[in-house]
Symmetry: C2
Subunit: 665 residues, 2 copies
Amino acid sequence: MGNYKGSLLGSVNPDLASERQTASFSVEKLTAWLDGGTEHTRLRRAVVEAIECDPVFSRENQYFESQNERYEAAVRKAVHLQKKMDEMGWTENGPEFKALSGDLAFLLHRIFTRSISMLGSDQQIAKWIPLATQYQLIGSYAQTELGHGTYLQGLETTAVFDITTQEFVLNTPNISAMKWWPGDMGRSATHTVVFAQLYVNGKCYGLHPFIVQIRSLQDHSLCPGITAGDIGPKMNFEHIDNGYLMLQNVRVPRENMLSKFCEVQPDGTYVRRGSQKINYFTMTTVRISLILDEVVIPLMKACTIAIRYSVVRRQSKLKPGEQEAKILDYQTQQEKLLPQLAAAYAFYFISDYLQELFDRGYREIQRKNFDMLPELHAFSSGFKAMVTQYSTSAVEICLRACGGHGYSLLSGLPSLYTKIVASCIYEGENTILFLQTARFLIKCFMAASTGQPVPPSVTYLAAVTPEKCPAKNKLDFLSPDIYTEAYQHMAARLINSTAAKLQDLVQSGVKKHDAWNQCTVQLAQAAKAHCHYITVKNFAETVEKLETQPGIQKIMKHLCDLFALHGIFSNAGVFLHDGYISGAQMDMVTASYLDLLAVIRKDAVPLVDAFDFTDKTLNSALGSYDGQVYQRLYEWAQKSPTNKQISPAYERYLKPLLHKTLSKL
Amino acid sequence: MGNYKGSLLGSVNPDLASERQTASFSVEKLTAWLDGGTEHTRLRRAVVEAIECDPVFSRENQYFESQNERYEAAVRKAVHLQKKMDEMGWTENGPEFKALSGDLAFLLHRIFTRSISMLGSDQQIAKWIPLATQYQLIGSYAQTELGHGTYLQGLETTAVFDITTQEFVLNTPNISAMKWWPGDMGRSATHTVVFAQLYVNGKCYGLHPFIVQIRSLQDHSLCPGITAGDIGPKMNFEHIDNGYLMLQNVRVPRENMLSKFCEVQPDGTYVRRGSQKINYFTMTTVRISLILDEVVIPLMKACTIAIRYSVVRRQSKLKPGEQEAKILDYQTQQEKLLPQLAAAYAFYFISDYLQELFDRGYREIQRKNFDMLPELHAFSSGFKAMVTQYSTSAVEICLRACGGHGYSLLSGLPSLYTKIVASCIYEGENTILFLQTARFLIKCFMAASTGQPVPPSVTYLAAVTPEKCPAKNKLDFLSPDIYTEAYQHMAARLINSTAAKLQDLVQSGVKKHDAWNQCTVQLAQAAKAHCHYITVKNFAETVEKLETQPGIQKIMKHLCDLFALHGIFSNAGVFLHDGYISGAQMDMVTASYLDLLAVIRKDAVPLVDAFDFTDKTLNSALGSYDGQVYQRLYEWAQKSPTNKQISPAYERYLKPLLHKTLSKL
């Protein structure tokens, strides 16, 4: 019984230790490769260490805190981080935000800053950015309204140009137009970028961004005409003060409309430089950057926790007479967790791919060439939707795969889940995003079919593929050519057949918008298939480039195979539908898929160790490096406020009843 | 702007009102039919009203409370409910528990009571039940251990019979044997039923239940040898004090082993009356009763909230030039929500079916006939797993279908989700439960193939069905015969092919337990398919019996069709695999499925109105009967503690920074 007195923490559980002795590759090398080089690893670790040594950043009581306490901690940490950044020379895009992900206030402040940098004129940048950088004002980004989300054209807030005073007059015309959800707005922000319909001389010019002060810099009271507050408790994000905002005749000077691309001149002339769509470009960039930070990294954490726990937890017997088995030795547990691990790697790589695509596009935009905007928009939309949806379900699988203990906040998994599920909604609701991608794909398909040029990423839509998958045995399905082609065929078929349905409907007299609506279930499916295909293809290409590191290449190849075959196994219908893959071939896929589970099982722990999360980052009683799961659960539980306070419920309600029993027992 | 001053609450939003004018059936009649008659409806409503008029049961601040506050409220409500029950003559199985679901402490106390009633001798029942019924003791049910869950044989707690004192001596031999998770144990319970390995004269007789006192009735302090406390915060269930318990040489008298079916006599003789498996029977009954109360009703609530919101929320345009459309008019939104609505009805009916099966079985067991135990165990396991898994995903879909507002606690959806997800884990982890069902099915399949008798529910395993689905057009797929047969064929094929794989492996020399493990992914799939088939069949039979109520029959038939076709559409692979359904037929399924969405769309609101939840029961800003969504969100948000307290964060961290800016702007 002495075991649970704390003596074991830090000494590695032997069941976990044994997993690390048989790795087929060097964990350190894999980590360095994922980081982009050993120097990056060293720097990242130094930052993480500096942060974790600092008591201000402690997460120790996180799972016990109220919404008010979490908000206060998040502000404290954000302000302290800024100080540390100045001291240490850390940069905005360094690893420190990742290390503190989910703990910091003022994330929307960063988007406020980014909007001004992207959409503001040089004077506007010079005026606002230095103040924002030092938190000498707190910004927010007020786009979404109570009654309006992804459909930006429907936003109701108005900004009317008053030529006599050279001001814009902002108003919230009714309750559904109230700004609702913007982070940092409920209690913190002094300023915000308000998106409003611009009116000049009675004419509406559509949505434009305006810098509006909402709270006094002197005493933080609300400015005249402003009603604002916190929208209350959410499923997570308790550290963020998501807020509401109503504007009643709020006046801002003409210079407060962000004017790099659009401007109202003193005489009321409206000038546009470039596409109006550029005003949405902030969202495109946010969608791409959130994939890694808000989705892939949480998924990696969930995999780390669930996989480490699954080699410590023993349950039931695989062989009669033996001791209880590690749950990761059960095929069903492998089938839950290992595909999620493969997906974490797949999405890590696709996020790189998207970042490159975006960087290229951004360079063009800086040169006022907007040609890539549609492709960037389509890709950022579809991949944001696919990766968030897949990863949310993956984290949920990890949580449930840990049984009851996964459900304890102390496992760290509930907070990962409740955070990642929000990513399916924010920055564009996923179904709507898929449909935007679908619209792009249908257009490209039509263009490609008539021989017009399309972006390289979608030329496959017009490519000729064989009608039947050529695989002859289960090993053939471990060939990237075979499965990548299957995905390509499937994605092209879904887009093709949905385009045909659309055309049939229109030709039979259905109006275009009705026809579109009647195809949306299939259009969304087609868009997802496209993103799935590109993800598989990109994974296979990433593996191919690993020639110089054969140990890592081998295990990455297994993961790539697993990701691809899991997708075919789980979406068998779309591959079987036209007979491209036959029932007999599907049995081969299943066999290879299940075989792979047993292969990757052996390296499962090293594969999550390579993500290189510290215990403090994971903050999980189940997922710590030493695997002392039960002891840690017990020790952490004792810190719970429920164990520190004798509930008034006893004196008030129970004592009178229980005392009646004394004489009877 | 006057609109959001509270004046509109209670007057029905016109978008929602219009949905109620076109119902194809009588909502009142459907409610009465679901309740089992108008008299039941009247009684249920009377109870709900009595509860909701009572301020002690108010849920008003629920979303703002801490774990300590929620626990205290739950105790207060449970004690008060007992008082009301005595006053009003309400019974244990009446609707009041449903009306208060999720609010009450002492749910495990009920299982404590049930265990004693089922497994206790007449004397034990006479001694303990009256005290328990009046909360003159608080019971718990201590089965799960820190290191052991569903695999009961692995539990480590010991109970050694000491013949000299005629006592059992209970011990927790090490940390993983600590009882962990039992509800009501962390802070409330005075007694608990402890499951422990029974040893008499050095021989282990397996798991048995013992009544153990853990806290003083005098002052609630822990009894000698007892260590106990609360396990801390969870994803939900904050109102319940899930606890831990360690036992060190705790002695209980011989009479405290529950002894209806097993007994240790004074001389140490062990006597068994009936199957030892009967000790697990409490869990079988709990699994069946939780389906309705903890799973189907929450799903119905989620559907009500999401569907009402989806006709109030308008977003984007279906037709150019028109006003923004109700989001339920989009095919993608229908495809998210309406299948979940159909599932809610399907599971409501299957829960009836299971209850009848169980009642029949229980009558037999009372007569010491244990023949039905395997079937009851298999059904309670498989359906618990299938319904909880499906419904969890359904509630999540409802939550996400409400966009950002679904993510606010005020929508009521996060608490439904975080509660229902636990049902996938408690009372048996779902994968393990599916595998228990699979074991039963494989046995029955083997028996049926060799002509031996099997329970009527599984005779289909040996039935001959056509090799191809006979449907010729999309309307054929609206025939229950056609789709029920497709499900039957598919389930039988999956069980059949997995049995064949098992046999092949064994014949090729793989050891039996290894072969089993290598088939478990497919076995779990087969078990799920079996339950899905029975659910579809039972739905179709329920519809058939509705002859006397044609209006209700018609809409129920649509829902049944939708449930069935949604299942084929979403699991296309298993129907296409052997060509039973061809690609062309799958297109017909898809067409019929999408057509049905538009049909049921018209009755969506009446179909959820018929569930007859009051606003106070739903406790949702999105789902209230009047549909005043935005106004309610705004009013409720203002009650949040985050709006009542000026955060110390401003003075401490922000003010010094912001004051620097004063001179600059």
